[in-house]
Symmetry: C2
């Protein structure tokens, strides 16, 4: 097992009808900015309930319109509002984009220099000394942002990870019933996103991280069991609750502690979303199976473990078992209604140069747990995804 630090101070408040508890979770007398995305949180009454809970001696402002893949320019407008209204607590009400954006606002609002510089610290993290406190009300299970210290912010053609321990939410309310009204496509994307988060902390090389491996496998098996079911039965509480909790546990630092990680699928996926507008989950469902195929030698032992423990594949040669595991993974994503080929989105070899150029511009020329995924290898992954 590798050495690690693990620290996750976010309080999780999980269950039905718990929005009223915002009154005890948010500091008394605070001036709160509630951030959200489109109008659905208003349409389905969530925003009214949030306001009702907060308006007990607090001043409540609102900032709507945070888009999927939240944009730097939009968030700067929220920063202006924080400053002009004297806001001292941020409440994100939404999915990953709203939570990610709120984290950026929490840093940028009290940042002295150019806020753009916050985008360029990468996985090393922002060395900030202060941030506004924030909480979350989660309406879309997918990104795990509700219990981690990271977000991804879009500017121009780029998607930039922004990480800082000060942006762990103070609390996150996870009420599975708030996700009942989500479109099937967003739920499917959330299942894929969670699945791939887990795979990126699991599919590397073995280091005797037995707890981590089995916990990862537990999330994968659960997603396979309830993924399609919760799309077809959006108001089955238990199925949705399992998706919500798996999404959180898939990216809160736990399963990645003490083991290598490989975020190449996300990095390539981000380029495709930035350039061609595919949903984040759609890009992951395309890239992961292709990467498993191309990287089969580097990841052989864990691929075989995955084949056996997740898909019960034990017969045939090593490569036959790996092929079967990739096919099952692809079939699972397709069963959710998420396509797994670039050609399904009318993308072809003519689009590869731009993707590779984007990776190069961000210095992603030696990805993977071994640092051996060159741009050439990434191009091969794209080829395998055609």
């Amino acid at each position: 097992m590798l050495d690690f630090d693990f620290h996750n101070p976010t309080r999780i408040v999980f269950g039905k009808d718990r929005l009223a508890e915002l009154d005890t979770l948010v500091p008394a007398g605070a001036t709160v900015l509630v951030l959200y995305g489109g109008g659905s949180v208003r349409r389905f009454g969530t925003l009214d309930k949030v306001r009702a809970a907060l308006e007990n001696g607090r001043t409540v402002h609102e900032f709507g319109g945070i888009e999927p893949n939240p944009r730097y320019e939009t968030l700067l407008k929220a920063v202006e509002k924080v400053r002009s209204d004297g806001v001292d607590f941020l409440l994100a009400v939404g999915g990953g984009s709203v939570m990610d954006g709120t984290k950026f606002v929490s840093l940028a609002s009290v940042h002295d220099g150019d806020p753009e510089s916050l985008l360029y610290h990468g996985f090393a993290g922002v060395p900030a000394a202060k941030a506004l406190p924030l909480g979350c009300v989660v309406t879309l299970p997918a990104t795990g942002s509700e219990m981690n210290m990271g977000g991804v912010i879009s500017k121009g053609d780029g998607k930039f990870p922004v990480l800082c321990p000060l942006t762990f939410p103070k609390f996150s309310i996870l009420d599975p019933t708030l996700t009942y009204s989500l479109p099937a496509r967003q739920v499917a994307n959330g299942v894929v996103d969670t699945f791939v988060h887990v795979m990126e902390q699991y599919l590397t090389f073995p280091v005797e991280g037995r707890f981590q491996d089995r916990t990862s496998e537990g999330i994968l098996l659960t997603l396979i069991e309830i993924g399609r079911y919760t799309i077809d039965h959006p108001e089955d509480y238990d199925a949705r609750a399992n998706l919500v909790w798996c999404a959180t546990m898939g990216l809160n630092g736990l399963i990645g502690s003490g083991v290598p990680q490989d975020w190449a699928t996300h990095m390539i996926g981000h380029e495709i979303t930035s350039l061609y507008g595919l949903d984040h989950g759609q890009t992951l469902a395309i890239i992961l199976p292709a990467l498993m195929d191309v990287r089969r030698d580097a990841k052989r032992e864990k691929l075989l473990q995955y084949a056996e423990r997740i898909w019960n594949i034990t017969g045939g040669t090593d490569d036959e078992r790996i092929d079967a595991a990739i096919a099952r993974t692809r079939a699972f994503f397709e069963s959710l209604g998420v396509k797994t080929r670039l050609s399904d989105h009318k993308l072809g070899v003519e689009h590869f140069d731009a993707v590779i150029k984007g990776l190069e511009a961000k210095g992603l020329t030696a990805m993977s747990e071994r640092g051996d995924q060159t741009l050439e290898v990434s191009r091969n992954v794209l080829k395998a995804a055609l």
Copy 2:
């Protein structure tokens, strides 16, 4: 899935040779009391390393002699020392007893009334408004105390759970190499303690806690794989690291969130330790298999799940599978060198009245996840443990 809150702010610092980091983990200029048990932490040089790290502008005091099943009277002496020396940070260096005791000292040192009252809040928790901050250096993997808010304190014939969110350690250093010198018996007890902690959060009735179930099963499978091995190969780093991390994850609140729990095995075990001096782990290895047997109807579905997923038992009638699972559990404990019968310790029916009386005195007359384990049922568990 049941509603739940989860909040665990302890920072874990896991790996080899990390004691020097105490200098960044403990506040600068603090007056520190280092608490420990017997002389082994001094004999093996751990205390010297701790001192070397802390003595960078800090005043360091020591309090040794915290016994297994830490006693109230001993801890009051530490409280006196905290007050007379103006201590403002506590550092536990040891196993569960030292960590549990340190948590009690952290509460009692700043408690205004009679410290004895802290013993009597049970699982409702101590409603304290303040506590001294504390950190841990773990030398024995077993209780999970390094990442939770609880401890068990002994006074007279009684063992009293003392829980308070203020006593979450600020940090815990988990260095598996610090456990190499442990006697085999203590390691075996630690494996059993962890196994039983997990079972008490798992072996109830199903509530669709899929993540929780699978994470619990992952810990159980890991313990079965590495339990005997790490006793025989105490300096195999990875095996010991897996034990250490499983012990922590087995009782930090995670696997018990959103599912029913049943702590009857621990409660009966505590009585036996108090009355007859058996090791804590020894009592658990005796009571758990007996309880599985007696409670098979109430716990049928989870017993069958346990039989299949942990022991791969799928043939025969339900009761045959349950019998087989109990036998395998018993054989596992015995393989660690831990006996599983009261008679192995020369205890018989003549000792039951005192145990039952002890449970009754603590109001433990309706234990289990359903509240249906009466004193009569507990007596039947003792009978099945003969």
